[in-house]
Assembly symmetry: C2
Homo-oligomer: 339 residues x 2
Amino acid sequence: MCGFDTEKKYTPTVCWKFVPSTLTTLIHFDDIQDAARRIAPIAKRTPVMTSRSFDVQAGLTAFFKCENFQTGGAFKIRGAANTIYSIPEADRPRGVVAYSSGNHAQAVAIAAGSIGVPATLVMPKDAPQSKVEGARARNPRIVFYDRFTEDRVAITQRVADETGAMIVPPFDHPKVIAGAGTLALELLTDVSDLDAIVVQIGGGGMISGCAIAAKHMNPKIRVIGVEPADANDTFLSLAAGKRVEIPPPSTIADGLRAQMPGAMTFPIVQKLVDEIVLVTDDEIRAAVKFMLLRLKIVVEPSGAVPAAAALHQKLPPGLKRVGLVVSGGNLDYEMLAGL
Amino acid sequence: MCGFDTEKKYTPTVCWKFVPSTLTTLIHFDDIQDAARRIAPIAKRTPVMTSRSFDVQAGLTAFFKCENFQTGGAFKIRGAANTIYSIPEADRPRGVVAYSSGNHAQAVAIAAGSIGVPATLVMPKDAPQSKVEGARARNPRIVFYDRFTEDRVAITQRVADETGAMIVPPFDHPKVIAGAGTLALELLTDVSDLDAIVVQIGGGGMISGCAIAAKHMNPKIRVIGVEPADANDTFLSLAAGKRVEIPPPSTIADGLRAQMPGAMTFPIVQKLVDEIVLVTDDEIRAAVKFMLLRLKIVVEPSGAVPAAAALHQKLPPGLKRVGLVVSGGNLDYEMLAGL
């Protein structure tokens, strides 16, 4: 039985196990290496930060993979560029279309713009202002929708049907997954002997790519996923052994509000992710504040989720050297003031 | 005649010149190399950041020396540790005493604490809360004073007389200057072919140390100082050819509120600094915001002063590759919300 209680310090939530013999996925380590080469012109090799004060409070040695310093302010450029740069020359004029709460939209706009591909973005009306502005700066066409009443996938499909544009999904696509995996490739290249890599889960694209890279480079590493307590679709799906859909989450971590794991990402998560832990919005807020005031870096709530798990001792005991993904830094001005 | 107008884009303010033949100072490049070795156990080799969006707005290629990530959140640990670690073993039990608006106090507390030397801090009553808290965490004795009615130097001297403690001045001391110079040593080692290094001026300790290191490593480099418009004691002193005292400044850049250049730093500034530019508090605020929202780093107003000069085109024209010192990141929570 997989219970969880976000108040408890650490709740074992291991209901599945990494079984190397059953490992078969569509995406291989080679694809991640190819992605790294493909995206090099636009994606930064982001720095890895450390913090003594964080380590003291978390009781471990943390290595922050700082994707908040990435082009577009988030890791999303990795998957978007890997996908868009792979489009054959002849198909590029038809353009691309993407739906996203913001960081993916911004990344698609940047990657498409960098090689002259027209982009249409389908964004929720309540997306953070900073993300809308960030996307708009690249002059894409933007179509807004209501997150609670409209179906973004249907809207995106309609745009694709009308224009012939290629859909760049936010996570459930081999090129997007392989692109995201490049961040783990860099982290494990830069930092040796990690006991675990801790990755936030929205639709599961980033943790899938990171798990493939990390388990290939170090089969003993533990891959730990973290979800906001009310965006626990992957947690529930793993417990159920199949993809479960949840109501639209309201967590402060707006990038992790996926309602269901991806059809492609879920089997990868089932096979490669060792455990999932959940964090509350208060814990996420505390982590954002800690990183702002002590590490002196701006991290958006979605980006602070692994740090929140570490700071509040939600990670499994016994971990010493831990890689924590800081997925983005697009913190709204209003949210900053609100903290 | 040395006029200035903070509204104008760039006002030439060169009233003195670097004359290598007259260069004689008490502090040499060797002292800075010695300092680098001495402080290595406690000071971080901070990263150098770049930002495409900053470069576009500033019209140059900026290299930010990120001392906001330094131990204690500011460059001050370099000078404090170099001074305190140089105290002979036998004299250490008598302790140290320092006056400071905050970052220096915090650095003295950290450096003294790291080798078991007792520390007394003389801090202004209106020092930012984050700096007082940061200092307090190291358990020093703290003596508060009123910046507008009391003489901090006299208070510090009284403590020294009563306890036998050694005074660690915030800037006017060879070890403090040499310690600060290590940041330029690192920057010029990490980034080649800089046209200029831009350094904020409080009492002039940092720019003195940086100028000695930079001019030694690259005699052609320009050293540009930046002061807040109402804390222009060095600007006025250079124009007058002697140290001039100004009334207590009220600039938002609380670390740069010195009223007069140091007796030791001023001759170094006269000889090695090529020009001084002034920035308004609004320009400083805009730079803090830009770095928060675009670079995703937390910089305190004093730390953003060189960036403010670059962003608002106050630097001399023709500079291409420019090192900008980000001296600290101890931004108050209240100030953060206020922005």
